[in-house]
């Protein structure tokens, strides 16, 4: 009671200059900045993205950045990059070497710090390059799923009636198929015997459509009852403009939060796909695929399984922390 009145008073405080906006990007970012958890998540994401961008732009640049690695290891790590190398023979390096701090490991932090893989390639470098795939798939799959899901859900919720019935039945039928099965079937159907990570990404995106569509639809159902939507209709604004200007922007906050969480889910699914052999194909470095290979050496060199797991964990952790922070920042009730 008392609190309620308190808030009314503040709202009725009138056009007050010191009043902060609780809408808009600047405000949301401000709220995230003041939230330690979200800030930490953001830092992790920034790191992961930086690594992705740097490795993607130029392998030479990455060589400068990750100076501890020598050209040889780089060449081992990314043979598909068509990178000129002065060390054409990989066979000389010891295979499945444990990390430097373990007896029998490289012994030096500058030399194969995390050890080598089954082909004698530097594990740290492969791990770093593996970021690319995870982030690429995480972002594209989530973006496509979110885009299509949002349009389907918003249209369905706003128009209602038979449009809603048709779209929602379609979405529910997607829901009924287990995600992994759907992705595998899709990948196999589209790419035949040459499974490719891009197809896998699209497949994952399809499995995301129902989640996003249902979430935004439920929001749209309440937003479309708001007076400002009726006001726009009464004033003669076109339906398309009402959707784009009023309905979607006001329904979008939870979708954004879900998206950050889904990025983590995607990374896991892709790792699983690669593990099963439907994702990234060797020799492309990918965390899931690295896990796939490493499980054979579980007993002789358990560290090989640990590192990709840690990388997946940190990345998902980062996105989830950020997602939680974003949720708080976008929720007008928590202050």
């Amino acid at each position: 009671m008392a609190i309620g009145e308190q808030q009314t008073r503040e709202e009725d405080g009138g056009a007050d200059d010191e009043f902060e906006a609780n809408v808009g990007w600047r405000y949301t970012l401000g709220r995230i900045k003041s939230d330690t958890t979200a800030r930490f998540g953001l830092a992790v994401i920034a790191l992961v993205l930086a690594v992705t961008v740097i490795t993607a732009i130029d392998t030479h640049l990455s060589r400068l950045t990750f100076g501890a690695l020598d050209d040889y290891m780089l060449a081992q790590a990314a043979p598909m990059l068509d990178h000129p190398t002065r060390h054409p023979d990989p066979g000389t390096s010891e295979r499945r070497m444990p990390p430097f701090f373990v007896d029998g490991g490289s012994g030096s932090i500058t030399d194969n710090p995390l050890g080598t893989d089954e082909a004698g390639r530097d594990y740290l470098t492969r791990l770093i390059y593996g970021t690319q795939i995870s982030v690429f798939v995480g972002l594209t799959a989530t973006a496509i799923g979110m885009g299509v899901g949002t349009v389907v859900g918003a249209v369905s919720g706003y128009y209602g009636g038979w449009v809603d019935d048709v779209l929602m039945r379609f979405v529910e039928s997607l829901y009924a198929i287990p995600a992994l099965v759907l992705v595998i079937v899709f990948t196999v159907l589209v790419s035949g015997n040459n499974p490719d990570i891009t197809y896998a990404a699209v497949g994952v995106a399809i499995t995301f459509i129902p989640v996003f569509a249902r979430l935004i639809r439920s929001r749209v159902l309440s937003v479309r009852e708001m007076d400002y939507v009726e006001a726009a209709r009464a004033t003669g604004v076109k339906d398309r403009d009402i959707l784009m200007r009023h309905v979607i922007p006001n329904s979008f906050a939870p979708v954004l939060v879900l998206a950050t969480l889904q990025i983590g889910v995607t990374i896991l699914i892709v790792a699983g796909l690669s593990f099963l052999g439907y994702g990234a194909q060797p020799p492309t470095p990918d965390w899931g695929q690295m896990l796939n290979v490493s499980h054979q050496y579980m007993l002789s060199n358990p560290w090989m399984s640990v590192w990709p797991g840690v990388a997946i964990m940190i990345t998902i952790f980062g996105f989830n922390l950020f997602g939680d922070g974003l949720q708080d920042a976008l929720d007008p009730r928590i202050k």
């Binding site: 709202e11 009725d12 405080g13 009138g14 056009a15 007050d16 009043f19 906006a21 609780n22 809408v23 808009g24 019935d165 708001m226 007076d227 400002y228 009726e230 006001a231 726009a232 209709r233 009464a234 004033t235 003669g236 604004v237 076109k238 403009d241 200007r245 009023h246 922007p249 006001n250």
Partner: protein, 453 residues
């Protein structure tokens, strides 16, 4: 775009700009996927309502929650599709105009909403909010719209600088002014205002009402104002329409309606408003009971179940209408009670129907019965006080008392109700009368059978 707008007639001040005839809106009470399969009852939100709105006037539509006034307003603006009836705006029949052709017409009819919180998009700045209607109707170019939005802000007594602010930075009253500016931006002729000040503090209400009035004088707007607050209506309206359960109960010029109400419901409403003056002796004359469900509303006059002055049934009326309950009433040759007898019989009927009294102090157990004389005493004390009707009506009352002593409340209620309520002209026929006004010269419509010749 221009084709439909060209069909609009020019309307002089004082001439009808909006003609509503027989407007009806039924909602399906259950609209789920399978509702069609099992059939569902209709909610009769608005039922056969007719009136006209003249250019430049303020017509207030008053009534309590659930009376259908908001539904009526939305049906007029075609925001919901009417079930039947016609709405003519400047000569164009809106109910037969498709939504595509309707869009350009909306330029001339705008709406203001009740809730200043939810009527402005929280993620849009004030400027774009005000510009949106102009943009939707391709009026002016971007720079002109911007300038006009700022001018409008000044017009509604806000600052030009507020253009770049978000709605939440404003108080309720200021937000309602922004609403007003948005509605005015396309230079409309009709503005439908849905409870524009009821969410505001009293001192701010007056500010907004005064602004609305000034703007009307300046631009000649026609207001259709929906309100539950008769004090506000008395301040701002020219004519007043009172609604009850989807029907129009009364429509008259303001002074006439407040000083010479022609419908018992209007009287009850007027009597119930607390007057801000402790010296005004205010008999609250409160109504009994609740508003009945619009799913199965009373026949005839919808107010009859609560009406304090229900018309006494007459044999001639019943014969003329051939009621379905003739079994019970056939035994009555004629009613012919005195006013006092009728009043008490009616009170008794409603008392039994709503079980407002106990047959014995402290209530009864389910199985127990009370002796007939005990019930007689209670009924006599609670209702009749020595003025029991004799003849046929007296016999029915006695029969009901006998049923009560057996604990058969439902049957007693049905007997009394079919004999005394369902046979009244108020239940048999929907009233529509025009009466001679005592104040002003406008027509006075009153839907009450007390006005029949």
């Amino acid at each position: 775009m221009s084709q439909t707008t060209e069909r609009l007639d020019e309307v002089e001040t004082g001439e009808p700009i909006l003609e509503v005839e027989g407007l009806t809106k039924y909602f399906q009470s259950d609209s789920g996927f399978l509702a069609g399969l099992f059939g569902s009852d209709d909610v009769k939100a608005v039922d056969d309502v007719s009136f006209e709105l003249r250019r430049g006037e303020t017509l207030a539509l008053v009534g309590e929650s659930g009376c259908g006034k908001s539904t009526l307003a939305r049906a007029i603006l075609q925001l919901i599709e009417p079930t039947a009836g016609s709405v003519r705006f400047k000569g164009v029949e809106l109910t037969e105009t498709g939504s595509r052709e309707l869009r350009p017409l909306r330029r001339d009819m705008q709406m203001i909403f009740q809730d200043p919180q939810s009527s402005l998009n929280p993620r849009m700045k004030v400027g774009p909010i005000i510009e949106e209607p102009m943009k939707a109707h391709d009026m002016y170019d971007a720079a002109e719209r911007r300038e006009r939005a700022k001018e409008l802000l000044e017009r509604v007594e806000l600052e030009r600088e507020y253009y770049n602010r978000y709605p939440h930075e404003f108080s309720g009253g200021q937000r309602q002014r922004i609403n007003l500016a948005r509605a005015m931006s396309t230079d409309p002729e009709l503005i439908v205002c849905d409870e524009p000040v009821s969410a505001l503090d009293v001192s701010v209400q007056a500010q907004v009402l005064n602004t609305m009035r000034d703007l009307q004088e300046e631009f000649g707007f026609t207001y259709l104002m929906i309100s539950h607050d008769l004090s506000v209506v008395r301040y701002i309206a020219d004519r007043v329409a009172v609604m009850y359960l989807g029907h129009l109960a009364e429509l008259a010029e303001k002074e006439e309606l407040f000083e010479n109400p022609g419908h018992p419901y209007t009287e009850a409403l007027l009597g119930a408003i607390p007057v801000p003056d402790p010296r005004v002796a205010n008999a609250r004359g409160t109504l009994e009971g609740d508003v009945p469900s619009p799913i199965n509303p009373p026949s005839g006059c919808r107010f009859r179940t609560r009406c304090p002055v229900l018309v006494q049934p007459r044999r001639a009326d019943i014969d003329a209408h051939e009621t379905s309950e003739e079994v019970d009433t056939a035994t009555l040759s004629e009613y012919g009670m005195s006013d006092a007898e009728w009043e008490r019989t009616l009170a008794f009927t409603r008392g039994v129907r709503r079980r407002t009294f106990a047959l014995r102090e402290g209530g009864l157990d389910e199985e127990e019965t009370v002796s007939r004389s005990e019930v007689e005493t209670v009924v006599e004390r609670e209702f009749f006080d020595g003025t029991r009707p004799d003849g046929d009506p007296g016999r029915v009352v006695e029969e009901a008392i006998a049923l009560l002593s057996e604990g058969a409340w439902g049957e007693a209620g049905d007997l009394l109700s079919t004999t005394f309520e369902e046979t009244s002209i108020c239940a048999l026929e929907r009233p529509r009368y025009t009466i001679e006004p005592q104040y002003g010269t406008g027509t006075h419509f009153a839907a009450c059978h007390h006005h029949r010749e």
